[in-house]
């Protein structure tokens, strides 16, 4: 709200009716106010009000969640951070988030590893390679991908993706099974890797779209300069486009990561969750925060809900950390790229 004042006071003062005496600062201010049109004042009030309201709502949510979470945590008989169990119906209740935190982070990382390179490649293709007539429709189709509800992704994943992962899983087990990470017990492939693949498809459009917009912003002069130096098209992309768009791509990835971290229904439909840590990404099991909340909420008692809220709060903290890290990276790159984001 305060930043508004210095901005509009001087301009409005200039428009104020001329006076013979130089008014005192207070008077000046009043005059400035008086001179504003009612529309301006209403709009100022509205925007200021919504700003304050937003903060109040956020604070209220935070206080409510923390209070409910604290209620649950005070009764938790297991270590909330390390227990491999979620049983709020026991007396005393035992629940911990170790498996959920691990699963949330792992599935998101898989999704990012798959989605970011593909999304950047699509964005580059659309902005620098594809003929204009083709890039429009492709961009439109990718936008459509973003409009599909997550439960539909979940159903598609459970009914079509899961059966088709058998081949890939067998191949991974044959050639990379020795690593332990890709060993497979031949169970239904409803595992972290499948979830990661599904999440990758879900976050692809958001990363692609934002990256595309960023790449489109690359100054024509940079590219032409590179071309003039004899660069091939790939070298132009590497030397002019990618460095310029890096911070934008990072923030695009963070948007995608946010969606992957919080994805609920698609994960709950595809994953076969349990409360154990599994070294293998191919064997079913594990879980994520959002999936756990979705699957436990409807039958949860009052106390069970408090416990779920506590887990949600941890997800919130993780998301904050990730966002903070992304902002730090962007801030560091900012002066170099000179770009937005």
């Amino acid at each position: 709200m305060d930043p508004m004042d210095p901005m509009d006071t001087p301009t409005q003062t200039a428009d104020a009716p001329p006076r013979t005496l130089r008014p005192s600062p207070a008077e000046q201010k009043r005059a400035a106010r008086g001179a504003t049109r009612p529309g301006d004042r209403i709009f100022l009030g509205l925007s200021r009000g919504s700003g304050i309201l937003l903060l109040v709502i956020m604070a209220a949510i935070a206080v409510f969640l923390t209070y409910r979470a604290a209620l649950a945590l005070s009764k938790d008989d297991a270590n909330f951070l390390t227990a491999f169990e979620w049983n709020t119906g026991l007396v005393p209740p035992k629940f911990g988030i170790a498996v959920l935190a691990f699963g949330t982070v792992v599935s998101s990382i898989i999704a990012m590893v798959i989605a970011v390179p593909i999304a950047v490649a699509i964005a580059l293709f659309l902005t620098h390679y594809a003929p204009r007539r083709l890039s429009g429709p492709i961009a439109y189709v990718i936008d459509l991908l973003a409009a599909v509800p997550s439960i539909v992704y979940g159903l598609w994943g459970a009914l079509i993706l899961v059966p088709h992962m058998n081949g890939l899983f067998g191949w991974l087990d044959d050639y990379l099974g020795w690593t332990g990470v890709f060993s497979w017990d031949q169970g239904p492939p409803r595992s972290m890797l499948t979830v990661g693949v599904l999440l990758a498809i879900m976050i692809l459009p958001i990363i692609t779209n934002v990256s595309r917009e960023v790449f489109r912003q690359v100054p024509r002069t940079h590219e032409e300069a590179a071309l003039a130096l004899g660069a091939t098209r790939w070298e132009v992309v590497r030397m002019a486009v990618l460095p310029f768009g890096r911070s934008g791509v990072i923030s695009a990835s963070m948007l995608g990561l946010g969606r992957a971290l919080g994805e609920t229904m698609a994960v709950a439909t595809v994953l076969s969750p349990d409360f154990d840590l599994h070294a293998s990404l191919l064997n079913s099991g594990g879980g994520t925060f959002a999936q756990n909340i979705a699957s436990k909420f409807s039958e949860a008692t009052e106390f069970g809900r408090d416990a779920l809220i506590a887990s949600g709060l941890v997800l919130f903290v993780i998301t904050l950390l990730v966002n903070g890290a992304a902002r730090a990276i962007i801030a560091r790159r900012k002066e170099y790229s000179g770009a937005h984001a």
């Binding site: 119906g89 958001i206 917009e213 919080g262 349990d274 699957s295 984001a341």
Partner: protein, 375 residues
């Protein structure tokens, strides 16, 4: 300057994308748990036999999704006869009990009886009284399996417990062979499916295992699955779907989900012959239950060890939860009339058409007399 402005717009649009992303995130948090498809088309109850007793207005109710289909069928008949609108949400037993103790609903449905602390909480809503459990809907929990070449499968409690506890992991295990001497059991890994969400079905299934074979089922039970290993899926429909499409799978769900070629296990209870999962057999097992509720509460203790002929032991009973005294005057008449109808002969008859088991006469008659005393 122009460029600058464009950049600012760009930043704005990025912000807008971020906000949209956040909205999209928050939008995918909810899910509808009222899984099954609604109502029955072929109910034959005679609407004119429903006593309306000045029932009017609107009833709100919430609770177990296991009895949602039964309630839907009842509501159809009752609304047609009395013009009372009944909105049963089927948001889950936990949600139903919470809504009841907060005074938001006229009655709740739950597949487990009220816990002592929930009874205490209900006293705030029921002025001068407390919440009571009225058993209203029974149902067999079927154990479905998918083993190629096996059309008939018999299991007993210890074998079931070992399968679901990952102690027996192959279909050609000796214990299964012993119970099925004539079946061609393949060398196939068992994929035991349980519910990934908390559920009264899990609660009742594990209660059965715990009661029937405590030495093979060391877990305390509850709505959350406790055994390690195995596969999981959300909702009964999810488990049924997985069993259907996974070779070597076995899973538990309400009988109404055992269709489209899913075969169910016959349980060897020690009775003369293995018992099929049918509605009639479930009713026989419920008849063996004892009323353990005190006062007007009629919560049941099921006899999971029953050896009676044709009594299918893995059953689930859903209760309607109301105040014994101190129901809200505005909804009392309608609540009473509705409960009277569903506990009545016509109401209980509809259950069978929807794959639920009626409550046996000895118990339902107590329910009927209790309903008349509600105030």
């Amino acid at each position: 300057m122009k460029l600058q402005r464009k950049n600012r717009l760009r930043t704005l649009s990025l912000g807008a994308v971020a906000v949209c992303g956040a909205l999209a995130l928050s939008a995918c948090g909810s899910d509808d748990t009222g899984g099954k498809d609604g109502g029955s088309g072929n109910s034959t109850a005679n609407a004119s036999s429903i006593k309306c007793d000045n029932a009017k207005g609107q009833l709100l109710a919430d609770g177990s999704s296991a009895q949602k289909n039964a309630i839907d069928a009842w509501v159809k008949q009752f609304s047609a006869a009395c013009g009372v609108q009944i909105n049963y949400k089927g948001g889950g037993s936990g949600a139903g009990v919470t809504a009841f103790t907060q005074g938001q609903v006229a009655f709740a449905g739950s597949d487990s009886a009220l816990k002592p602390e929930e009874v205490t909480a209900s006293k705030k809503v029921c002025s001068g009284g407390q919440g009571i459990d009225l058993p209203m809907v029974g149902g067999p929990i079927a154990v479905g399996y998918n083993v190629p070449g096996v059309d008939h499968l018999v299991l007993d409690a210890p074998t079931l417990a070992k399968i679901f506890d990952s102690k027996i992991t192959n279909w050609n295990d000796g214990a299964i062979k012993k119970l099925n001497p004539n079946a061609k059991l393949p060398n196939l890994k068992i994929q035991a499916f349980h519910r990934s969400d908390e559920s009264g079905t899990t609660d009742n299934f594990t209660k059965y295992l715990k009661a029937a074979t405590p030495e093979n089922w060391p877990y305390s039970g509850g709505k959350a699955w406790q055994a390690k290993g195995g596969q999981s899926a959300p909702q009964s429909s999810g488990v049924a779907q997985q069993v259907k499409q996974t070779s070597g799978a076995i899973g538990y769900f309400e009988l109404s989900y055992a269709k489209d070629g899913i075969k169910t296990v016959d349980i060897d209870t020690g009775a003369a012959s293995p018992v099929k999962a049918t509605v009639a057999n479930a009713s026989k097992a419920i008849a063996d239950a004892k009323v353990v509720g005190t006062g007007k509460d009629l919560s049941l203790q099921l006899n999971y060890k029953t050896k009676a002929d044709n009594a299918y032991p893995i059953v689930l009973v859903t209760y309607e939860i109301v105040c014994d005294k101190g129901n809200k005057p505005a909804t009392l008449a309608a609540t009473k009339a509705f409960l009277r109808y569903i506990a009545g002969e016509d109401g209980q008859k509809i259950l069978e058409q929807n794959d639920y088991a009626p409550i046996p006469d000895a118990i339902i008659s107590k329910v009927r007399s209790t309903i008349e005393t509600l105030s």
